[in-house]
């Protein structure tokens, strides 16, 4: 992503968090990761989950999604790809193609779509950021 200040020390907790993320096709939120990691490290703190998820995404090692109201979801796959968000069960899944003309994708019914580009706008580029 941007400049990447790598972690200075490895930690069992962070490894466990990454492992949990890598082992699922879900795009879980912090609480889900917390529950899973607790099975290995029962006394891990929720703050540790939040801190590491935040740092990992800042370092470009995982992807932070803003798919749902007020909740962040995390994705082990960092390469650009599209997601489908179910308005009924709330699941977030990867989609195989990017086509903005269809009303059905991978068998899921689409109500609407959103494309977001993230970066630095031309005004900020001028002001030497």
């Amino acid at each position: 992503m941007n400049t990447v200040p790598t972690f200075q020390r490895k930690s069992i907790q962070r490894d466990a968090i990454l492992e949990v993320l890598a082992s699922t096709k879900r795009h879980p939120d912090a609480i889900w990761v917390y529950e899973k990691v607790k099975q290995q490290i029962p006394n891990i703190s929720l703050g540790t989950i939040y801190r590491n998820l935040s740092e990992l995404s800042k370092n470009g090692m995982i992807l932070e999604l803003h798919a749902k109201d007020n909740v962040k979801n995390y994705d082990f796959t960092v390469s650009n790809h599209a997601h489908f968000v179910c308005s009924s069960c709330g699941s977030i899944t990867d989609v195989s193609s990017t086509d903005n003309t269809v009303s059905t994708i991978d068998g899921n019914h689409i109500d609407y779509m959103s494309v977001m580009y993230y970066g630095v706008c031309k005004d900020c580029l001028k002001t030497a950021n």
Copy 2:
């Protein structure tokens, strides 16, 4: 969007909110709308802003964006279109084309992009939702 239960009564406050949204190219959040509407209706409550923005987006009259951490932004244009989010100043602007191969769009530098489809997943479709 979905089924649209229209508002049963008109309200000066809601009209003012829509007017503010229609009059800007920005994609403001609730606080920004609040500050603007207060210029017309000084004693309007923040709760009224939140309630009406929520209802308006449920009715498909405006679009609710989840572009940034923990903040909802609203868009008067409801048709499917792409947005650019600046990581420096936080501005959200419409982009003119949807092309996932470029690294620059409308003069803005792109770090990464996100495509989201919203709807009902195939599993939920089966369970007759």
